[in-house]
């Protein structure tokens, strides 16, 4: 017999932890996707694709800024002591990924804006005509554009990695306690971003390239998920319990159907057919990838909070 009864019934803690609702998964998803967009846009700048006027590197920065701001607003909504949010910026805590994230976000904005200034949208130029002075200055310096590209790739990478590290440092939640989590979030961020660019790209070459890249990311994602689960299954009892939440437990239907099936396998098949010119490129596969990426964050955040050490009470 193994039985544990408790008199504690704290709100959002018992019977299982649910302190983080929809805001954190939405933030992690948008943060991851923006990270991917920064890397893709940065790569286009670095590889001199910006010379083509319909390059996605001209549309991505403004979209990134909007999505990141929506994500940060969701993060702000999640804070319970909102009036004290400025406390994040009166200190830097080296051991706290959340502190790292707060500062990374501050750095990310100017870097995306630098990318934006290479070719700002017309409405911005109309509103602030002085911008074109900066744009001309940057465009006279190809080296600078490449450096802006490198900075976007670097900070995009940091942003993508931190969203995973944030959770994986929490040993208290066995499901998150995997060193693969940051890889998973980074790759998922890249695949959702590639899917997004694939969908909106005006340049045919880019669309092909991104569809191919997305197939690569989705394939890596399957391996990363497999490695993460194998890692948990070969660890302690509580980690095995955590993996089983996804494999056969309460989260299994959503995980298998929406994250793995709809979010990875089916779009991978569709996109493989598309890049081999068997079928036309449609937005269906990219939309599936994007929704799958969002659901992945929901499943990981929710199931992770649900995973616990209680079984360690039983010897």
């Amino acid at each position: 017999m193994q039985e544990l009864t408790t008199t504690r019934h704290n709100l959002h803690i018992d019977p299982s932890m649910a302190v983080w609702g929809w805001e954190i998964p939405v933030y992690l998803f948008l943060g991851g996707m923006v990270a991917g967009m920064m890397i893709i846009s940065g790569y286009f700048l670095f590889s001199k694709r910006y010379k083509e006027t319909n390059c996605a590197c001209y549309t991505l920065p403004i979209i990134s800024l909007i999505l990141l701001s929506v994500g940060m607003f969701a993060l702000f909504l999640d804070l319970e002591h909102k009036l004290f949010v400025w406390r994040l910026y009166t200190t830097f805590k080296i051991a706290s990924p959340m502190s790292w994230g707060a500062w990374i976000l501050i750095l990310v904005y100017p870097i995306i804006i630098a990318n934006l200034l290479i070719g700002p949208p017309q409405f911005l130029i109309n509103k602030f005509p002085k911008i074109s002075l900066v744009t001309t200055y940057i465009n006279q310096r190809p080296r600078l554009i490449q450096n802006i590209g490198v900075a976007n790739m670097l900070l995009g990478g940091l942003l993508g990695v931190y969203t995973g590290v944030l959770l994986s440092t929490m040993a208290a939640r066995p499901l998150w306690n995997s060193s693969m989590l940051w890889v998973l979030f980074l790759v998922s961020g890249l695949s959702t971003a590639a899917a997004f660019v694939h969908m909106i790209a005006k340049n045919v070459k880019e669309r092909e390239l991104l569809a191919k890249a997305d197939n690569g990311f989705l394939t890596i994602e399957i391996f990363v998920i497999a490695l993460m689960i194998i890692g948990l299954l070969t660890s302690t009892r509580v980690h095995i319990d955590a993996a089983e939440l996804l494999l056969s437990g309460a989260y299994a239907p959503v995980f298998w159907v929406f994250v793995v099936g709809m979010g990875i396998i089916i779009p991978l098949i569709i996109q493989l057919l598309a890049v081999n010119h068997k079928i036309k490129h449609t937005p269906i596969a990219p939309i599936m990838v994007i929704i799958g990426g969002l659901i992945l964050r929901f499943v990981i955040v929710s199931a992770g909070q649900h995973s616990h050490w209680l079984n360690a009470h039983f010897k």
Binding site: M1, Q2, E3, L4, T5, T6, T7, R8, H9, N10, L11, H12, I13, D14, M17, V19, W20, D78, L79, E80, H81, K82, F84, V85, R87, L88, T90, T91, K93, A95, S96, P97, M98, S99, G101, A102, L166, T169, M170, A171, A172, R173, T236, V238, Q305, H308, W309, A312, H313, F314, K315
Partner: protein, 179 residues
Amino acid sequence: MARFGMVIDTKKCVGCMDCVVACKTENNVPEGYNRDWIVTVANGKFPDIHLEIQSQRCNHCDSTPCVSCCPTGASHVEEFGKIVLVTHNMCIGCKACVAACPYDARFVNPEGYADKCTFCIHRVEKSELPACVSVCPTHCMYFGDLDDPNSEVSKLIASRKNHTLIPEAGTSPRIYYLT
């Protein structure tokens, strides 16, 4: 400087919840929340079943994931007695510390900050015992300096069979249960 800890004799505890009520009263813990609680663990196979009643709270761990994850420094280890505390007006309510505690010992106070047991630091500073310890009718709880080998708590840990909670989580908790 002292390093406070607690020793709880599960052979004496009857699960009366006086400690729970005392804490709520002493610390004005909001309705619907608890900083300490009673857990009953039944372990084993009939007829060899072992039942243990534990009065649980924040373990004021030596290794504190709740402090290291805090982005603002609100969660901290107090110099006095190495008690783990939250400075309310530094806490943004991000709940990282709540998720980082393997004992689920924290909660979000309705006012927005992370809340948990303080070892009744306001009483201990006046050389009084924490409220829970002071009211226990079976005297099953002991509070003192774990760094002082002559303290009652250190002697009990040295002389009686004991365990901490979920040591596998690596937090080095400072509440010991005598069995």
